[in-house]
Symmetry: C2
Subunit: 636 residues, 2 copies
C-alpha cells in the first residue's frame, strides 16, 4: 500500500432505482452509502525479483524443488536420486500383487509390440529386426528413468513414418542400406540429444506449440501417405495370392482394432489381433509355400541380442545436416506423443508426470538406444492404452515386455521366416487408419474455425508438400492466430444492468442499458505495439458513433469515456503512449477519459511512466459512474 | 436471449457483514434480496456473418466506405475521386491566406531539403543530383495523392542508408556506377510496388509489427554505422584543410539542430543551418582554392530536369533478387516513417490520416518516381516538423518545395561546384546523430524491460550483423514477447473486499480477504493450446497450496473453486478440453468448479462444445459465492 499514488476516498450518494425485472422484486436500499475504493499498485519488487519470478514461471512452473524444501542433506540426496530414477521411489514398496498385474499387462503389450515393431521398422525403411531391437533396450531404459507408470515404450508409427520419409528423400534404403542405417541411428542420437536438451533446459513449452488441431491434421495426412505406400505393395501381392484368404484376415484385423478403441473391455481382442494375424498368415504361407510362388516374406532374421552401433554414428560428412534435421523433427513429434500419452494416463490415475523430467528420460533413452541398434522410440498411444486396460501398475510391465522380446530375439527368430510382408502392411494400415480422427476434425470445425484451418493446413501441407514444412505451416497458422487475436482485439460498449453494479456488453445483454452522458468501453486484449494504432482508431470510432447516435436521438451530450481495463492483461510502451495520446485527443473534444480496474502489471507500468493523473482511475465501473456523476451535480 | 442455455434465476439471502474500514462507516443493509443473473450467449450469427465481421475488423477497421453510405451515384463518384485525390477535397476552398502560409513553409523546407537531398543521395552512394531529382517529382506526386497536410516529402536518412548498405554489399558503386544506379531505381520501383500493394490489400497491420522500441534501437544502430562511415571521410579531409575553420561550422550545425528539436520557436535556426553551412563552406573553398589543394568537392552538376529512367529498370538478371529485397526493406522502413510522421501531425491538428490510403499514395509516388531518376522517398520527420512549425496549411507547401527545387535544377546548379563534400558529411552526421534517442531507450528500460530487450537486439543486430537481419531479430523478439505472455499467463487468487461485491487480487489489495471454503482464481490471458497444459498444472498447484494452507491453519475445508473468466478473452479447442479435464479432476477430489463471466466468444465456444452444465456459470463472483453458500446451508 506504500506506493499507492493517491488514495481517493470519499463518500457520495448513489440512488438505486428499484425496478422490477423478470418478475423478481429487487429491493436494494434506495440510498446506500458508497465508498469509492482506490486502485492499488502491486507490491513493490526489484527488477531482479521480478526477473526471478518471471523466469521461474517460464522455466519452473511446476516448482520442482518444492519437495526438497526444509529437508536434511541426506534426505535431499535420496530425494534427488529418486527424482532421477523414479524406480527407487516405488521400488521399495513393490509387492507380488503389483507384479502379477504387471506380468499380465507386460505379456499383453509384448504380443502387440513384436508384430508392430517389425512393421514399423519396415515403415521407416529399416530391416525388421531393428524394430525388435527397439522394443528391447528402450523399455528397459524407460523403466529406470521414466515417471509414467502406464507408458508402453517402443517404435511408433508417426516417428517411423517421418524418419522413413525424410531419410529416403535423400538416401535410398535399397541402394545404400548401410548408409541409410547409419543415418537412422545418427538421427536417433540427435533426436535423443534434442529431447534431453529440451528437458534439461526446461524448454518444455516448445512442445506446447504443437496444438491438438495441428496434430489431428498432421496424423491424418501422414496416415494417408503411409496407407497409399503400403497399399501399393499390398495390391501387388494380392495379385499373386488367392484373394479369398487374405480379405477375411484383413477385415478381422480392421474390425477388431476399431471396435476395441470404443470398448476398453474388449481391449484384448485388439491386443491379440496383430499377433494372431501374424501367426495365422505365417502358418498359411508355410502350408501353401510349395503351391504359390512370389509371396514376399520376411526371411531369415539373425538370432541374438542388440549389437552395439556406436561405430555406426555419423558425425561428419554431407548427410550430417539431414540426420540432425530428421532427428529434430522425429524427436519433437515422438516427444509430443510420449508426453501427451503419459499425461493422459497419469490424469486418469491422478498422479503427476513431470514434463521436463519425461523429456530428459525419453531423450536419454533415445541417446542410449542409438548405440544399441535401435531407432527412435517413445510411448505409443495404442500400446499404452492396452497396457492401462490390461491392469499395468508400474513400469515393471515395460521390463516384462523387454523380457519377452529378449526371449523372442534369442530363440524365436526362425518362426518369423515365413511371415508374409503383406500382413505387416496390413498391420501398418490398420494402425495408421486409426490415426485419421475425422470426428475430432468435425469438432474443431464446429467449435473453432481457425483451429480447423490450422488442422487443414497441417493435413494438406504434410500430404502435398513435406513433413517438416507441413508441420511448420501448421505451427505458423497457430501462431498467426494468436497474433491476429492480439492485433485486432475485440472492443465492447458496456451498459448497466438495472438495479445492480454490473456493467456488461450492450450487444449481448439486452437488459443492459446505456448510462446517459457516459460511454463505457471495454478492451478485450493486452495493448501492444501491434494493436495500439488499431485500438486508438477503433476507440475514436466508437466515440464518434456514440456522438452521432446521441445527436440523432437528442439525448444528453457525451461527457465522459470510461475504459474498463479488466481484460487488458498487459501493456507495453507503445500502449501507454496510445492511452496518453487518446486522453489528449479526447480532452480536445472536452471529453474526460477514465480508466477502470487496470491489472497489476498495467498499473505498475502506467505509474512508472507517470501517466497517472488524479481522478482518472477507479476500481469498478459503478464507482466511476457514481463518483463522476456526483461531481457534475451542483454542490448544495 | 433465445439461445441462453438455461436461465438460472432465484433469490437467496445474503448477509452483509457491515464492518468499518478506513474510518468510513459502511452501512449496507444486512439482508439484501439478491437476484442471480444468468450468463447470456452473444446474439447468434452464421459462420458467414462472423467471417464477414471478422474480416472487416481485420482489413477495414476504419470503415472506409462509411462516407459513401446513403449517397447518390453522382455524389459517390465525387467522393471516390476525392478519396483518390485528396487535393480535390481541399482545393476548392483554398485561398490566398492559406497560400501565403504554404509559400513561407515551402521555401523554408526547400532550404533544408536541397542540402539534405544532396547529402542523403551520397549516403545511398548515389550521385548528388539524384537527391535533387528526388526532391522534385515525389513532393509533386504526394501533393496530388497524399492525405497529410504537413508531410514534407523527399529522401530520408534511414531509407538512404539502408539502400546504400544493402546494395553496396553486392555491387560496388565506384566500379559499376551504372549497374548500381539501375539497381537503386529498380529497388525504388519495388519499394513502391510493395507499399502500394500493402495499401491496396489493406495489409496496413504489417507495419504495426515494427514497434517503437524496435525502431529506437534500429535508428540508433543505423546512426552509428553512418556516422562512422562519414567520419572516416571527414577525418581524411581534415588532414588537408585547416582544422580551426571546420570545427566552428560543425559545432554550430550540431548545436543549432539539437537546440531546435527542443524549442520549436527556434525551428528556423535548424532549418537555415544546413543551407547556411553549405553557402559559407562553398564560399570558403572558393576563396582558398588557390592555396589549399586536395579538398574533395561536389564538382560539376548537370543542369536540367529529371531525365526519364524507365530504361534503367532492371527486371531480370542475377541482381533482381537483391533489388527486390532492398526494395522491400527500404519500402517498409520508409512507409513506417512516413505513416508515423503523417499520423503524428494529423493528431496535433485533429484530422485523420488513412493509413492504407497513405500507403497507396507513397507507393504510387515511389513507383512513378523510379521512372524519373528518383530513389526511395517518404515523409521526413525532421523536415515535416519544420514544415509544421513554419505554418504549413496544405500539401501546397510540397508544391512550393518542388518549385524551388525546379528553379535550382534549372539555374543554380553551377553554384554547388565548390561545395566541399565534407560539409555534406557534416550534414549527414548531424541528421543521424539526432536519431540516437537515448532518452527513449532509457524510458523503455524504466517502463518495460522486454521492450528494452527488443530495442537492444535491434541496435546490436543492425550494428553487428546486417540491416534486414537486425530488423528481423527485433521483430522476432517483439513477437516472442507476445507469445510468452500467452504461454505463461498470470494467475491470481482473489479475495473479497469487505462490505462490497468487489473481488480483487489478495496479493495486491491488503484489505481483500479469502472467502472460507472457496478458492477464487482469475486467469489473465486467453486459454490456447500454447498455455492449456501450463494453466492446468498451475491451477492445480494453486488448489494444492490452498489445501495445504487450510490444513496448516485448521480452517474450514475447501469445497468450491471459482474461476473468474473475465480476462480470458478467447479460448480454443485445447482450452475447452483443458477446462473439461480440470472439472473432472476436481470432481474426483470432491471439489466443485464454477466459471464466472466468460466473454461472448468463450461462452459461445463452450456452448457449442456442450461443456456447459447447469449451476456452473455465474455472472459475477459475488453472485456465485452467495448462491453456492446458500445451497450449502441446511434448508429450513
Amino acid at each position: 500500500m506504500g506506493v499507492t499514488s493517491d488514495r481517493v476516498e470519499y463518500v457520495c450518494r448513489y440512488g438505486g432505482n428499484g425496478t422490477t425485472t423478470s418478475g423478481v422484486n429487487v429491493s436494494i436500499a434506495a440510498e446506500v452509502t458508497m465508498e469509492i475504493h482506490s486502485v492499488c499498485l502491486p507490491p513493490k519488487e526489484s527488477t531482479f525479483q521480478k526477473l526471478k519470478h518471471r523466469l521461474s514461471e517460464i522455466f519452473f512452473p511446476d516448482d520442482p524443488l518444492y519437495r526438497f524444501k526444509d529437508q536434511t542433506w541426506c534426505k535431499k540426496l535420496v530425494l534427488g536420486l529418486q527424482f532421477l530414477f523414479p524406480i527407487l521411489q516405488w521400488g521399495s514398496h513393490y509387492d507380488l500383487n503389483l507384479f502379477k498385474s504387471d506380468v499380465v499387462s507386460g505379456l499383453t503389450i509384448a504380443s502387440l509390440a513384436i508384430p508392430q515393431g517389425i512393421s514399423y521398422a519396415q515403415l521407416a525403411n529399416l530391416p525388421p529386426i531393428i524394430g525388435l531391437y527397439s522394443s528391447f533396450v528402450p523399455p528397459l531404459m524407460y523403466s529406470l528413468l521414466g515417471s509414467s507408470r502406464h507408458l508402453a515404450v517402443g517404435p511408433v508409427s508417426i516417428a517411423s513414418l517421418v524418419m522413413g520419409t525424410m531419410l529416403s528423400e535423400k538416401v535410398s534404403p535399397v541402394q545404400h542400406p548401410t548408409l541409410y542405417l547409419k543415418l537412422a541411428f545418427t538421427a536417433t542420437f540427435f533426436a535423443g540429444l534434442f529431447q534431453a536438451s529440451l528437458g534439461f533446459l526446461r524448454l518444455g513449452l516448445v512442445i506446447d506449440f504443437l496444438s491438438k488441431a495441428t496434430l489431428v491434421g498432421f496424423m491424418a495426412g501422414a496416415a494417408i501417405i503411409v496407407s497409399l505406400q503400403q497399399l501399393k505393395g499390398l495390391l501387388g501381392i494380392v495379385h499373386f495370392t488367392t484373394k479369398m484368404q487374405l480379405i477375411p484376415v484383413l477385415t478381422s484385423v480392421f474390425h477388431h482394432t476399431k471396435e476395441s478403441m470404443k470398448k476398453p473391455k474388449l481391449f484384448w481382442i485388439s491386443a491379440a489381433a496383430p499377433l494372431t494375424s501374424v501367426i495365422l498368415s505365417t502358418l498359411l504361407v508355410f502350408l501353401i509355400k510349395s503351391k504359390v510362388h512370389g509371396i514376399s516374406i520376411i526371411g531369415h532374421l539373425q538370432k541374438g541380442l542388440n549389437p552395439t552401433s556406436t561405430n555406426m554414428l555419423y558425425f561428419n560428412g554431407q548427410y550430417l545436416a539431414l540426420a540432425i534435421k530428421t532427428g529434430i523433427v522425429t524427436g519433437i513429434l515422438s516427444l509430443t506423443e510420449g508426453i501427451a500419452v503419459g499425461r493422459t494416463f497419469a490424469s486418469l490415475k491422478n498422479y503427476q508426470v513431470d514434463g521436463n523430467k519425461e523429456m530428459m528420460a525419453i531423450g536419454l533413452m533415445n541417446m542410449a538406444s542409438s548405440c544399441t541398434s535401435c531407432y527412435v522410440t517413445t510411448g505409443s498411444f495404442s500400446r499404452s492404452a492396452v497396457n492401462y486396460n490390461a491392469g499395468a501398475q508400474t513400469a515393471v510391465s515395460n521390463i516384462v515386455l523387454a523380457g519377452t522380446v529378449l526371449v523372442t530375439l534369442l530363440f524365436l527368430m526362425p518362426l518369423f521366416y515365413y511371415t508374409p510382408n503383406v500382413i505387416l502392411a496390413a498391420i501398418i494400415i490398420t494402425a495408421v487408419i486409426g490415426l485419421i480422427d475425422y470426428k475430432a476434425a468435425y469438432k474443431l470445425w464446429k467449435v473453432d474455425k481457425l483451429d480447423f484451418l490450422a488442422c487443414i493446413c497441417s493435413f494438406f501441407g504434410v500430404l502435398f508438400i513435406s513433413v517438416p514444412l507441413g508441420l511448420g505451416i501448421a505451427v505458423g497458422v497457430s501462431v498467426v492466430k494468436i497474433l491476429l487475436h492480439v492485433t485486432r482485439p475485440n472492443t465492447l460498449v458496456l451498459g448497466n444492468i438495472p438495479a445492480t453494479q454490473i456493467y456488461q456488453s450492450l450487444n449481448r445483454y439486452k437488459e443492459a442499458s446505456r448510462v446517459p452522458s457516459f460511454l463505457i468501453l471495454a478492451i478485450e486484449s493486452p495493448i501492444y505495439f501491434a494493436n495500439s494504432t488499431y485500438l486508438q482508431e477503433r476507440l475514436l470510432r466508437w466515440v464518434q458513433e456514440e456522438e452521432e447516435r446521441i445527436k440523432a436521438n437528442h439525448e444528453s451530450t457525451l461527457k465522459c469515456i470510461i475504459i474498463d481495463m479488466t481484460s487488458v492483461t498487459a501493456i507495453d510502451t507503445s500502449g501507454i503512449d496510445m492511452v496518453c495520446e487518446l486522453k489528449k485527443m479526447l480532452e480536445k473534444r472536452s471529453l474526460v477519459l477514465v480508466l477502470v480496474n487496470p491489472v497489476g502489471s498495467v498499473m505498475e507500468k502506467m505509474h512508472r511512466s507517470n501517466f497517472l493523473g488524479t481522478n482518472s482511475l477507479f476500481l469498478t465501473v459503478g464507482e466511476a459512474v457514481a463518483d463522476i456523476s456526483a461531481s457534475w451535480k451542483p454542490q448544495p
